[in-house]
């Protein structure tokens, strides 16, 4: 499953070296009494199954459906998302930024890889990569082109560099042709990338 990626990003020898190296580190830390290996399994399972962009998609779909929630979300992202009770309490510093016909938002962390884990899960490899972190702030349209996205002429670009503990999620525009859709169905249009600002929501025709 991961073979192509591993060949591309790291050598096979590194993979086995890292398996051994991390296992040794875990052994030392467990023998010292600092960690419990069984606890690690629970953490990994949570990141593989519970935390992910499906949480953010519910937030966006709710904002598209409920004007009062949308206002609350843009006013105080942490408070609004916590009020949904869908997921674990989010951090205290979540900020939702709204795309409009005149403005497209994009999120980056040029210094490391800060990302709103609670609503989007763990960041993808490209988000943490040098090409994205270097270019998002001075060539965001070029980055969008790498994702196959072209914005309509006249759309301004706003890039948010996550240089502190504030975290950002993009509220994309609701696609046309979705009148009367349920929140669940709307959520199926919301991709991870459209909440980072490197993508747009799916075309309603793709899911209806």
């Amino acid at each position: 499953m991961a073979q192509d990626h591993d060949d591309h990003h790291e050598h096979g020898s590194e993979l086995s070296e890292m398996q051994l190296r991390v296992r040794a580190l875990e052994t030392v830390l467990a023998e010292k009494g600092y960690i419990d290996p069984a606890t690690l399994d629970v953490i990994i399972e949570a990141y593989e199954t519970k935390v992910g962009p499906h949480n953010g998609a519910r937030v966006v779909a709710k904002a598209w459906s409920d004007p009062a929630f949308k206002r609350a979300l843009l006013e105080d992202g942490s408070k609004a998302v916590a009020s949904l009770g869908l997921i674990n309490r989010v951090g205290d510093h979540l900020i939702a930024v709204e795309n409009t016909p005149k403005l497209h938002n994009m999120i980056v962390c040029t210094l490391c890889s800060c990302y709103p884990w609670e609503v989007l899960g763990l960041p993808p490899v490209w988000y943490k990569s040098a090409p994205y972190r270097s270019r998002a702030v001075n060539d965001p349209r070029g980055v969008l082109a790498d994702f196959g996205v072209t914005l309509p002429a006249g759309t301004d670009l706003r890039v948010w560099d996550s240089t502190a503990e504030t975290r950002f999620i993009v509220l994309p525009m609701r696609p046309e042709g979705t009148e009367g859709w349920s929140e669940e169905k709307l959520a199926s249009l919301v991709t991870r990338d459209c909440m980072i600002g490197t993508g747009l929501p799916k075309n309603p025709k793709e899911v209806s």
Binding site: M1, A2, H5, H9, M18, R21, V22, R23, L25, T27, V28, L29, E31, K32, G33, Y34, I35, D36, A38, T39, L40, V42, I43, I44, A46, Y47, G52, G91, D92, H93, T110, L111, C112, E118, P124, V125, W126, S129, A130, P131, Y132, S134, A136, V137, N138, D139, P140, T155, D156, L157, R158, V159, D161, S162, T163, A164, E165, T166, D193, T198
Partner: protein, 218 residues
């Protein structure tokens, strides 16, 4: 520090290559590495800024040629030795050679759900905020050899305070293990041309989250 991690605006790294249907982890050791970091972080032995500084201090060639989780694993080895929790000889041996120290607390499986959300970085302010929304500010020309969150591309640039985000733990101090040193945090917005010159996309604006010590009135 003016390190390789400070990548905003650098050229030559090529295209962004999204991976279709990317798995959460690409190998089991990546998940173990993340979980080890979370479990050890829970014991209270470091601040998040100490861990970031730990990555920044990796040699540039190691930084550029290591995957994300490899950087985490190497950083973790370095930090536990630096903090005196594990001996370098024990890392080499792959086994404990001496008993461990007593830590504040230890993560149990039952507590894991509580560790999935982030804590608050807000702290009581020592003084009123120096700037307000709409103020013009200039970022300082600073080059500390230690951790800072003012990226190089946004130093000595004029921008506008867009929002006050509250008073937060100051990373430049916390990274050194010297306490929270709370400072006001602002979203500061720059015109693309201020950052990148006349050839910049004129429709581009970029913001950073800037701590008050990074700013002076403009």
């Amino acid at each position: 520090m003016d390190g390789i991690h400070d990548m905003g605006g650098m050229h030559g790294f090529g295209k962004v290559e999204p991976e279709p249907d990317e798995p959460v982890f690409h190998a089991p050791w990546e998940g173990r590495t993340l979980a080890l970091n979370r479990a050890l972080g829970y014991t209270g032995i470091w601040t998040i800024d100490q861990t970031r500084y730990g990555i920044e201090k990796l040699p540039p060639d190691v930084y550029l040629t290591s995957s994300y989780y490899r950087k985490w694993a190497v950083r973790l080895e370095n930090l536990v030795v630096e903090l005196g929790l594990v001996g370098a000889d024990e890392i080499r041996a792959g086994h404990a050679l001496r008993p461990g120290k007593t830590l504040k607390r230890k993560l149990t499986a039952a507590d894991v759900p509580n560790t999935l959300s982030r804590g608050s970085f807000s702290r009581p302010a020592k003084s009123p905020a120096r700037f307000k929304a709409g103020d013009r500010v200039r970022t300082k020309n600073i080059h500390p050899e230690t951790h800072t969150r003012l990226p190089r591309y946004a130093r000595e640039k004029v921008g506008v305070v867009e929002a006050i985000r509250g008073c937060h733990v100051f990373p430049d101090t916390a990274a050194l293990g010297k306490g929270d040193d709370p400072q006001w945090l602002y979203t500061v917005l720059f015109d693309g041309r201020e950052l990148w010159g006349e050839t910049s996309d004129p429709s581009l604006k970029v913001s950073i989250e800037a701590f008050e010590p990074y700013l002076e009135p403009a």
